[in-house]
Amino acid sequence: MTTTDNSLNLVIPGDSISLENNDISNIALGPNVTLENDSTLQPTTAGLFVSSSTKGASKNLYYVDTASGRYVPQVGDLVVGTIIGQFGEYYRVSINEFSKEVLLNIFAFPNASKKNRPRLQVRELIYARVSSTEKSVDVELSCVDPTTGKDGGFGALSGGYTFNVSCAYARFLLFTPNAPVLKKMVEKLQFEIAIGVNGKVWIKSDSSKATMLCVYIISESQNWKQSEISENVDKLIKKFKSL
């Protein structure tokens, strides 16, 4: 199988993917692939094989993107979570229903001090970054942008509505520049959005009715073909206006 940059191919376990470029010192492996020998890769799960080399980066990245699976926190991931409690210097945050909760230090906010820090309430929503994932240790979140030390859009999300999509779809929405659905929605609607790679999307529009429309479009769009998007969005807006 030959691979080109940013190409997508369906692979299943047992396939062997031969690399064009035989220099294995120059590759980085992402999730769900293992190195079989010097020039072939083996997928460990069914999914889309992605190989990408960004300009300027020295290494080629290879991974298999799969639609199934639960979210497993990785450092740097942007997540939407719900505060479910507080103890000592930490908030307990749920980023995945029925999974172990993660921690958010009460000082992990820009310029937070003992007196001046955001007081979050149980059940409040936050947008945060995964700051540490060590084996056998609780996962920790942070609401500080590590490059600037400022808030970088992190923090409590007030108003709006949060709902779940598949992790793969959340990644798609977050990492695809001009994701077709969002591009179409921006033309017609006004909204704020926060996408967590944990499969949670928060959206807020100017009224709860409009928010629900956005929620509806995004959760429905998971099952649409690319060509249908424009038509379906228009249809839903029309249906919605008649309500």
Binding site: R123, G159, N164
Partner: protein
């Protein structure tokens, strides 16, 4: 997967509430208030009888009917037995745990005291956004002042689903189904008698919940009754009489299997109630005092019963049901928010088998009658669906060759 653990975030609660109390009231799925999700009934096995799977939106229930020969209860020698097993396992949602020692941390208590949410600022005429912001501000105020525990959230009296704890959910659910199907005499137990006082059929319907997205009761009731209608038990015959009598059971090839005698088709329709008014109740403040006063009052006047009743009535701080929103076939998320539920069981002849409303919002009797009317329409629709599926299955199972052979054997035409 919707938010189905009890950590429904505040923004969701507020948005959903303002949607429901808006004008016109809307549901998150944009479904009509009295419109159930699409019902999908399928026959799970093409060879066996009585194995049905029912999908109501994302809620997925399977029911398998089986029968065996036992001796009847001593006090009811002319009747067979019928039992329904409804066990909720983690298979349908991780929110449910198996075993008696359910993990109550995942199942919220009936009244969720977790946060202070006041929704009294929401005005149905205003835009949702302004009210949502106002409510959020209010929350922050409450939080700063009183450490969260001064008010009760919405989701007060929901009894079904996760808003109640699992043990309660399970008991309520099995009782509802029992009442709907078994105690409404849907299955004619006397027809299950083989030899009075000695042998009878014991019919069992085992319900398995495969996925939970609200409204397990309605889906389960449809599954049980469809499975009963579909089930065929082997034909039996008693040869001889008295001491030396013998019971012969014929298998499918020897004799046509016999359907159970189902007298009517009761179907449950569950309604959830929401109040558009504020549901905030101040525990720490006024009401707590008034409760104390009330108690004193009762003590003082314990000899005057009428007065007590009056006073109790005034101080009854349950949400008033003046402008409640009623929805059918709630999803898991809607169940979490609901302030009360009611299950109505009807058959297509508009015979009411049960109304079950355990606690929750007060609802006007007129609205209850309206509910029954709505339920009747839904029941008619679902009964048609059940009959359609069963008829299609009978058609599918017809053994044309055997029928032709039999028709030749029995052909009495003189040509």
């Amino acid at each position: 997967m919707p938010h189905i653990d009890n950590t429904l975030p505040i923004p969701n609660i507020i948005t959903l509430h303002s949607l429901l109390s808006g004008n016109p009231p809307l549901r998150p799925s944009l479904r009509q208030l009295t419109e159930p999700r699409p019902l999908e009934i399928s026959i799970a096995s093409s060879t066996e009888y009585g194995h049905i799977e029912v999908k109501l939106g994302e809620t997925y229930v399977s029911c398998k009917v089986s029968a065996q020969i036992t001796s009847p209860y001593e006090d009811r020698p002319f009747e067979g037995t019928f039992a329904i097993g409804t066990e909720i396992t983690p298979m349908c949602s991780p929110a449910f745990t198996s075993g008696v020692n359910a993990d109550f941390s995942t199942a919220a208590p009936a009244i969720v005291p977790a946060t202070a949410i006041s929704v009294n600022n929401i005005d149905s005429n205003k835009e949702g956004q302004t009210s949502a912001t106002a409510a959020t501000n209010n929350i922050n105020n409450n939080n700063n002042n009183n450490n969260n525990d001064n008010a009760v959230t919405m989701g007060g009296g929901a009894v079904m689903g996760l808003a109640a704890d699992q043990a309660a959910t399970e008991i309520l659910l099995s009782r509802l189904i029992e009442k709907a199907v078994r105690r409404s005499n849907a299955l004619d137990l006397e027809s299950l008698c083989i030899i009075a006082g000695q042998k009878c059929w014991a019919v069992r319907a085992d319900v398995r919940f495969l996925n939970y997205d609200g409204n397990l009761v309605d889906a389960a009731s449809v599954a049980v009754i469809t499975a009963l209608l579909h089930y065929r038990k082997p034909d039996v015959e008693v040869i001889g009489s008295g001491e030396g009598s013998e019971l012969v059971m014929y298998d499918e090839k020897q004799r046509e299997m016999v359907p159970l005698s189902v007298l009517h088709i009761p179907i449950c329709v569950t309604f959830q109630f929401f109040s558009t008014e504020s549901v905030e109740r101040n525990i720490k403040g006024e009401n707590a005092n008034s409760l104390v006063n009330n108690k004193n009052y009762i003590k003082e006047n314990s000899d005057n019963d009428d007065d007590d009743l009056e006073r109790m009535d005034i101080d009854n701080d349950a949400p008033r049901g003046s402008n409640e929103i009623i929805i059918v076939d709630a999803t898991a998320e809607e169940e979490l928010l609901s302030q009360g539920s009611m299950t109505v069981t009807l058959n297509s002849n508009k015979e009411l088998c049960q109304i079950s409303k355990s606690g929750g919002l007060n609802v006007d009797s007129v609205r209850i009658l309206e509910c029954c009317q709505i339920a009747s329409d839904i029941v008619n629709k679902w009964t048609k669906e059940i009959k359609k599926v069963l008829a299609a299955d009978i058609e599918k199972r017809r053994d044309l060759r055997a029928e032709r052979v039999l028709s030749v054997v029995n052909d009495r035409s003189t040509e």
